[in-house]
């Protein structure tokens, strides 16, 4: 049960119940990518505006489990208003978090964060740490992130 509580932290349940940046940007300028998890049927649509080199808006739609939906919601909050380079870095950090060995998890919480903004966003994202103990759910947690990566890659950003 301890592991389960770590998986379903309150912040994750909050983002699942009240997802941030929910919806779809339908104009032609919007970048878009769809992601699927064929194993469990989760699907996600990421649409975003990049103005200059800043992600000015991002919307998430689709359906899936609490982990895939809350992770995408947390992601949208973390990247909105950020320069693309910083978004790329956040994606990288998050994916590292998802692959990090269990034993290393203890340390990552205490690691010094470079900037206040990163501290806040990574702090929230760190709520997804518990997922690592449930290997089958890592794909759920990374679905939105891989889809965002796809959208940026498609636009060569």
């Amino acid at each position: 049960m301890a592991d389960l509580e770590e998986l379903y932290r309150e912040i994750i349940l909050d983002h699942y119940r009240s997802p941030r940046n929910r919806g779809e940007l339908t104009d032609e300028a919007a970048l878009r990518a769809e992601g699927f998890n064929p194993l469990c049927g989760d699907e996600i649509l990421v649409t975003l505006h990049v103005d200059g080199d800043v992600v000015t808006d991002i919307k998430i739609s689709g359906q899936g489990c609490s982990i895939s939906q809350s992770s995408a919601s947390l992601m949208s909050a973390a990247v909105k208003g950020k320069p693309v380079a910083e978004v790329r870095k956040t994606i990288e950090t998050f994916k590292t978090l998802m692959t990090v060995h269990e034993a290393q998890l203890e340390d990552s919480g205490d690691a010094p964060e470079p900037e206040p903004v990163d501290l806040r966003s990574l702090g929230e994202l760190a709520a997804l740490q518990g997922v690592v103990k449930f290997p089958m759910r890592i794909k759920c947690a990374t679905l939105g992130w891989n889809t965002l990566t796809q959208a940026l890659d498609d636009a060569s950003l």
Partner: protein, 414 residues
């Protein structure tokens, strides 16, 4: 199938060592028999004994153990055939890897020989992908048309347009019981209707073999596919049964050793059925294990298993609806006749994947997802459902653990 006494679940459980282990510190409640049933220790012991005392390749050696292995393998064919009511097991029981391979075999041999443009195969919306994709692959190669029987409000087959769908059809291929809905289909009636229309009928019996009477002669069917691991047997073995005169005319499936009478540099002469369809070394130990599983099922009695699971299904449906009321959506017909021990559901506010994760933490094994039946899930309008399914070792305590776990899930996600 003679029925003896009602099942004594606690006694049955003693035959299934896996059920005495714990999962996350709790008694394990294995509610995923529709995905794979557990093997009783008799099955494991039979396979162990075979490997430790007898193993040799079949149909070749003249030494004592090779003769014994061949005899065990062929008597497994007879045991399984008798269990299915096959009139001539030695010619009608084909060993495959699983139901999926059985259906692919049928599509690739009978299908390619008999079906082309202008012909039709009738399937249903509740089929497992194993009984859809091989026919779609055949349709791509041959142009045969695929037609789908729909479902009524109770999620049973809608037979109102059966005659139209059968017009011009050469085959009906349909599941005996849905692996998502638990719906038990009227195979006997469908067989009669198919034959009246000049079509043959193949039955996907993967979900039915352990739980429902399935005498092929009584059902009046032409082909039947089964998986060993869904009927208390091992993985890696399946059955295709076909009427002897139908199998006799089919071309080979896979080529290689064991399926030929003669080979020259420019041609080969295939062996008669069923060896014609069994290229390569067959699953010998698995056949021994499956025959033991069949004897085990016969000792319990298919009717007794069916009665036990029916009563348990009724209890589970009652408990789920009385506990969660409108907070749960159950996909399947109401309890009673024509309703097998498979319960797929959505818990309001909790995704199926989360439901399964939380249930796992209290030792309850259920399956989330689309259950390899995406056309059905699209019809239902759900991306993922959780599924609990029963076997002869499932009891009221398993259902109670399920309901308690679901209550935890709703509390957590409230």
């Amino acid at each position: 199938m003679s029925t003896t006494a009602p099942l004594d679940v606690l006694a049955v459980r003693r035959d299934f060592p896996l059920l005495s282990r714990e999962s996350h510190g709790r008694r394990i409640s294995y509610l995923d028999s529709a995905a794979s049933s557990l093997p009783p220790h008799q099955v494991v012991a039979a396979m162990d004994s075979y490997y430790e005392t007898t193993h040799a390749n079949v149909h070749r050696g003249v030494y004592e153990t090779a003769e014994e292995a061949t005899r065990l393998f062929e008597s497994a064919r007879t045991t399984i055939g008798r269990f299915l009511g096959a009139p001539d097991p030695a010619r009608e029981i084909v060993f495959t890897r699983n139901t999926t391979e059985s259906i692919n075999l049928l599509a690739r041999t009978w299908g390619e020989q008999h079906l082309g443009e202008g012909d039709a195969v009738v399937l249903s919306l509740m089929e497992h992908h194993a009984n859809i994709v091989p026919w779609q692959m055949l349709a791509e190669r041959t142009g045969v048309e695929l037609r789908f029987l729909g479902l009524d409000e109770d999620l049973r087959l809608d037979l109102s347009d059966l005659d139209e769908l059968l017009d011009g059809a050469k085959l009906v291929s349909i599941t005996a019981m849905s692996n998502v809905l638990g719906t038990v289909n009227p195979i006997h009636d469908l067989a009669e209707a198919a034959h009246r229309a000049g079509a043959l009928i193949h039955v996907d019996g993967a979900q039915a073999a352990l739980h429902l009477p399935h005498d092929v002669a009584e059902l009046g069917i032409d082909f039947l596919s089964l998986s060993g691991h869904k009927m208390l047997g091992p993985t890696g073995i399946g059955i295709l049964w076909g009427r002897a005169e139908l199998l006799a005319d089919l071309p080979p499936f896979l080529g290689g050793g064991g399926m030929i009478l003669d080979v020259r540099t420019d041609r080969f002469l295939p062996a008669p059925a069923p060896q014609r369809f069994e290229a390569g070394t067959p699953p010998i130990a698995e056949a021994v294990g499956l025959a033991e599983a069949v004897r085990y099922i016969e000792a319990l009695g298919v009717d007794a298993i069916h009665a036990h699971e029916s009563a348990l299904t009724t209890y589970a449906l009652d408990r789920l609806t009385s506990t969660f009321d409108d907070g749960i959506t159950i996909y399947g017909p109401p309890a009673g006749d024509g309703r097998g021990g498979v319960i797929s559901f959505e818990l309001e506010g909790v995704h199926a994947h989360d439901v399964a994760q939380i249930l796992d933490s209290v030792g309850v094994c259920v399956r989330p997802g689309h259950h390899c039946a995406k056309p059905l899930m699209r019809h239902l309008g759900v991306a993922a459902a959780a599924r609990a399914s029963f076997g002869p070792y499932s009891g009221h305590d398993d259902v109670d653990a399920l309901v308690a776990g679901l209550e935890q899930a709703t509390t957590l996600f409230l």
